[in-house]
């Protein structure tokens, strides 16, 4: 019995380490394009550089949202389906905080909402805010869901809005065009100029395209298969 018990403990420990490393990778990998962006901008350490850090990090989180929503088999080997869903439902809060700070820092150093690129960014932020808030209110399973008062509000909103769980989830797909909007915002940024920053820019565009395609593939063909 002893060797089996030892093995089980080791397997558990290995799983635990794998999960830790996966979370670490999830939150550290956005720094790879961040480094490319900051170095290519050559700004030094100032508010503008910080705005780049927050903006690029937030964008990678947006891409990750689509990737997480596609329930990738690779990730499901490392984390449980519940953990993937939890990551998908909690990281938007970080995304909003980073996106909002990015915008405030840009405004602080004198940038204005006078360009198409900035307006697209604002629009994407507002749509993400509404999308995330409505998901939180209507169908996401969070710590709030277990509270009676919140459940009552949710039921009330769903009834008055004539919504079903399926309809609310379908509405959440509006995040896909919003993802394309934020991609346009990033591509139009001066820091994404291919001449100065080919690697950083390519990373972000490819990661967004791959994440969106993964999600579309999941929605169109893979949902049932992966669910089993």
């Amino acid at each position: 019995m002893a060797p089996i018990a030892y093995k089980n403990t080791r397997v558990l420990w290995e799983d635990h380490m794998k999960q830790r490393l996966t979370y670490l990778g999830f939150f550290l990998t956005p720094f790879i394009p961040v480094i490319f962006y900051v170095v290519s901008a050559g700004t030094g350490y100032d508010a503008y550089a910080l705005s780049i850090v927050f903006g690029v990090y937030a964008f990678v989180l947006v891409c990750n949202q689509f990737y997480l929503a596609s329930q990738p088999a690779f990730l499901l080997k490392l984390l449980s389906a519940k953990q993937v869903r939890t990551l998908h439902s909690t990281s938007p809060l970080l995304l909003l905080a980073l996106g909002g700070t990015h915008a405030l820092l840009k405004l602080n150093v004198g940038f204005t909402l006078s360009t198409t690129q900035a307006v697209i960014g604002l629009l994407a932020f507002v749509l993400f805010f509404v999308g995330i808030l409505s998901a939180l209110m209507l169908f996401a399973n969070t710590i709030l869901t277990k509270r009676m008062a919140f459940a009552a509000i949710r039921t009330n909103v769903m009834t008055k809005g004539g919504l079903t769980h399926q309809k609310a989830r379908a509405m959440h797909n509006l995040m896909v065009p919003t993802g394309l909007l934020v991609l346009a915002h990033v591509v139009l940024a001066s820091t994404s100029d291919f001449t100065y920053n080919p690697w950083g820019m390519s990373m972000l565009v490819l990661w967004m395209v791959y994440s969106l395609l993964s999600y579309l593939n999941y929605r169109l063909s893979g949902r049932k298969r992966r669910g089993t």
Binding site: A41, T43, G44, V109, G110, T112, S114, T191, Y196
Partner: protein
């Protein structure tokens, strides 16, 4: 009395320094958006652009002019050989209206500057060329041994589109 004397001495020492950083024109350039012959004692050709600069007769003002082969925006950035950190004076002549803005270079972009240093400014489009002229207090840049700058122009009448040509240049001070 001693303090006042020190201040007078410091000013007296500073004046000749600022007065020598770049050549002066016999007559101070007229900031009117027209790059006239002999208006600037130093004229440089940089990637199709013509730049002139001069120190005013009293040594207090630095005059700059940039003529570029464009109907769009024209710009001079002072204090750096790249956009980051440069104090950028950028403008365009939309014929019915002229726009000139002082901006701070940030990475590969720029945003309106909080510090306004330009004393006089003018921009004029004539044929296929646009000329930007402006002046700034010489004391702002007299501290070093050179003045680094960037020059650029774009094809559109705005302040945000990317340059079509740019050049960097360093003016060595003669002091």
């Amino acid at each position: 009395m001693k303090k006042q004397l020190t201040i007078v001495l410091l000013i007296a020492l500073t004046l000749p320094l600022t007065a020598q950083i770049v050549p002066s024109a016999s007559v101070d350039p007229k900031v009117d958006g027209i790059f006239s012959n002999q208006e600037y004692p130093v004229v440089e050709q940089l990637r199709g652009m013509t730049m002139g600069y001069a120190l005013s007769g009293d040594g207090q003002t630095l005059h700059f002019a940039l003529q570029a082969p464009t109907k769009g925006w024209v710009s001079i950035g002072l204090g750096s050989n790249r956009m980051q950190g440069a104090h950028i004076v950028i403008g365009f002549d939309a014929l019915t209206s002229q726009t000139i803005s002082e901006e701070t270079g940030r990475g590969h972009s720029h945003s309106p500057s909080r510090d306004k240093i330009v004393k006089q400014q003018a921009i004029k489009e004539s044929g296929n060329t646009t000329t930007l002229e402006f002046s700034v207090p010489a004391s702002l840049y007299a501290g070093g041994s050179e003045l680094r700058m960037i020059l650029a122009y774009g094809t559109r009448d705005d302040l945000r589109s990317k340059h079509s040509t740019y050049a960097s240049h360093t003016i060595p001070f003669t002091k």
